[in-house]
Amino acid sequence: MSGAHEQHGRSDHPATEQKGNTPDPTRRDWLFTAGVAVNVAAGLLLAIPLVGFVFASFVERKDPRTWISLGPLDSYPEKATRIAMYRNPYTRPWDGETADIPCWVRRLQGNQFQVFAINCTHLGCPVRWFQESGLFLCPCHGGAYYEDGARAAGPPPRGLYQYNYKVENGQLWVKGGEMPTLSNPV
């Protein structure tokens, strides 16, 4: 068994040597090259769907954001900031409550709103609204924002992310569906 693979050099295996030398060596080289080529091609055929599968997000970039209703206008009293919740439009049946996304709705007056993402602009922790001091505070590294979302103190590099919103059919709608980050604010 072990000798069968060795074509050159072993003088104590005369039979093998003979077998290995009789056919044309260029044919063996050709077979080797062809074998490598076939496998490279097959490997590519395998790799294309694999890479495409794993890195799908680089190829198909549909905008995941859509208009989402946050409920009737009168659940948001004027001059107040309330927490609201929506089901993320991009969701799978097995997502559970993890796909329920909160946000802060501030109604200035009438149809004038500000809808803030829950995520701190520093590193994404959930900011919390403090009515009396009129601040959003972040529990992670102590970021603070004023009631209009402007940065007040701490490490955040900018004010809170704000959703685009519209008022339609007596309801408040926001355009959402993606976790906001610095390179991709809502």
Binding site: F55, S57, F58, P64, I83, M85, N88, Y90, T91, R92, W94, D95, G96, E97, T98, A99, D100, I101, P102, I118, N119, H122, L123, G124, C125, P126, V127, R128, F130, E132, S133, G134, L135, L137, P139, C140, H141, G142, A144, Y146, A152, A153, G154, P155, P156, P157, G177, E178, M179, T181, L182, S183, N184
Partner: protein
């Protein structure tokens, strides 16, 4: 008996076991390598094996779906026979693994074991370090609770800061635009298949290098490594004092291994499993996310850095550190091995450990985070309201109601985000207080829009009383408390008048 012997010989002839044994477990090592300092590598591997076994068992029950993961963790804790204990062993195994791996790395560094000809052993070890940290992070995600959810958010936000392709990378990391079902599947695959597979591959290389390049002899001061002579010297050492690793150098490894196992099992028994904490529901915003202890130091650094340094520290510093670690055996591949002759190396280790330790401690205590319940939970100490005027008492109310306590402490209670205010009247004058409250500054938000002038008056009047007994409040030196004496003559009066009236 003869047939037993015969079949043993037959088996060995087919399986080549004696040859395998002689070139692995029985290979010769310098007798000096049978030291208590040399036990950490094998113990790290032991921890990994424990992690693989307990992890495989947990995977029998765990469901990597965002909807079910939390429930399956609770099931493991409360319903599955021995489930809580295996979760605890897996958690403590990971703690031990990171700790012992760190000890191993420090030992290798201080004993100069990374020098010629063992450069690639060190380099493969660095990759194992990275894999282990990746296991720690993905493992924290497997415990899919509130902390895991927000930890992922922090990870995504850091990724989102990568220039140019940040948002694509976030999408890739989360397997979607938000943290949801596919995110957990992705991290499960990494934690259970990909990274452990990588670890097994790299460990094989690491061990093979230990066999082919030999274990570092116990370094002696004054015996520097020279590329030209080292190999011959090492062969000489082996010839003179070489012993087979099994059974003559493995004794201390075995004892330490036993201690580690008992340590892990004991900690698991005493402290139990970790979490899961609150359910992974992002709408429960009343949360205080903290990472596992391996990442507390980074967490703390991110709170303490000025924001212009952040991108630098997040991306450039780790890259520089990694390049330094990978390049180390090529920069200082020869020379003195003994820590007694390498003061800079010792200082480097002490410095790194102090930085990480202090940052981790700060991450644990997080003095920069507002204490979200300070305003409602911590009352103003009685002696701070005794004998105060109505205006000052009203100020105390404003102080409490406007949630100043979230950031400022009184009597040792309250947040530490801002300075303690127990003796603020000895530091700030009345006017300075008014300005600080209305305009903010330093790290304090401005409250001008949130307080009426009357409230500011009351608040400042109260703060003027915050000083030790018998110490007067500070005052502005260019606005003397008492009026100046009257001018004695017209010339003095004229010179005291404002310039334009002259």
């Amino acid at each position: 008996m003869n047939w037993l012997r015969k079949s043993a010989i037959w088996l060995d002839d087919r399986l080549h076991l004696t040859a395998l044994y002689a070139s692995t477990a029985g290979h010769e090592v310098p007798a000096s390598a049978g030291s208590w300092f040399y036990v950490f590598g094998s113990a790290t591997l032991l921890c990994f094996v424990i992690q693989v076994i307990t992890g495989a068992c947990l995977a029998f029950v765990y469901i990597p779906s965002t909807n079910e993961a939390y429930t399956s963790l609770e099931y493991l804790n409360h319903a599955q026979f021995w489930g809580w204990y295996l979760r605890a062993v897996h958690n403590w195994g990971s703690n031990f693994m990171v700790a012992i791996m760190t000890a191993h790395m420090i030992q290798v560094f201080l004993f100069g074991a990374y020098k010629y000809p063992r450069e690639l052993t060190w380099v493969s070890g660095i990759f194992l370090l990275l894999c282990t940290l990746a296991m720690a992070f993905t493992g924290q995600v497997m415990r899919f609770d509130q902390d895991a959810y927000w930890g992922l958010t922090i990870g995504a936000s850091i990724t989102g800061r990568v220039p140019l392709i940040g948002s694509q990378l976030v999408h890739l990391l989360l397997a979607g635009p938000i943290i949801a079902g596919e995110t957990l599947s992705r991290f499960f695959t990494l934690h259970v298949f990909i990274i452990p597979g990588l670890i097994i591959a790299i460990v094989s290389m690491h061990l093979r290098l230990v066999l082919t390049k030999g274990i570092n002899e116990y370094p002696k001061p004054g015996h520097p490594v020279h590329k030209a002579t080292y190999d011959a010297e090492y062969a000489e050492i082996l010839k003179k004092e070489g012993v087979p690793f099994v059974p003559h150098a493995i004794g201390k490894d075995l004892i330490f291994a036993g201690i580690v196992i008992v340590g892990i099992l004991g900690c698991a028994l005493i402290f139990g499993p970790k979490g899961p904490g609150g359910p992974p529901n992002p709408t429960l915003v009343d949360t205080n996310p903290r990472p596992d202890f391996y990442f507390l130091a980074i967490f703390a650094a991110l709170a303490l850095l000025p924001d212009w340094m952040e991108v630098m520290v997040l991306f450039i510093a780790p890259a520089v550190l990694l390049i330094f670690l990978l390049a180390l055996p090529f920069i200082s591949g020869t020379g003195e091995k003994s820590a007694r002759r390498r003061p800079v190396a010792v200082l480097l280790v002490v410095f790194a450990m102090l930085v990480i330790g202090v940052l981790a401690y700060m991450g644990q205590t997080s003095p920069w985070s507002p204490q979200m319940s300070g305003w409602s939970g911590d009352a103003i100490p009685v002696e701070y309201v005794k004998g105060r005027t109505p205006l000052e008492l009203h100020g105390a109310l404003v102080f409490q109601n406007k949630q100043c306590r979230n950031c400022h402490s009184l009597g040792g209670q309250g947040g530490e985000r801002g300075p303690a205010l127990d003796s603020v009247a000895t530091r700030l004058t009345k006017d300075e207080m008014v300005r600080q409250v209305i305009q903010g500054g330093g790290n304090m938000p401005a409250y001008g829009k949130k307080l009426s002038p009357a409230e500011v008056d009351a608040l400042v009047a109260f703060m003027q009383t915050l000083r030790p007994k018998y110490v007067p409040p500070v005052r502005n030196s260019d606005k003397p408390e008492n009026p100046k004496p009257l001018p004695r003559d017209v010339a003095e009066l004229r010179s005291a008048l404002p310039r334009m009236n002259r």
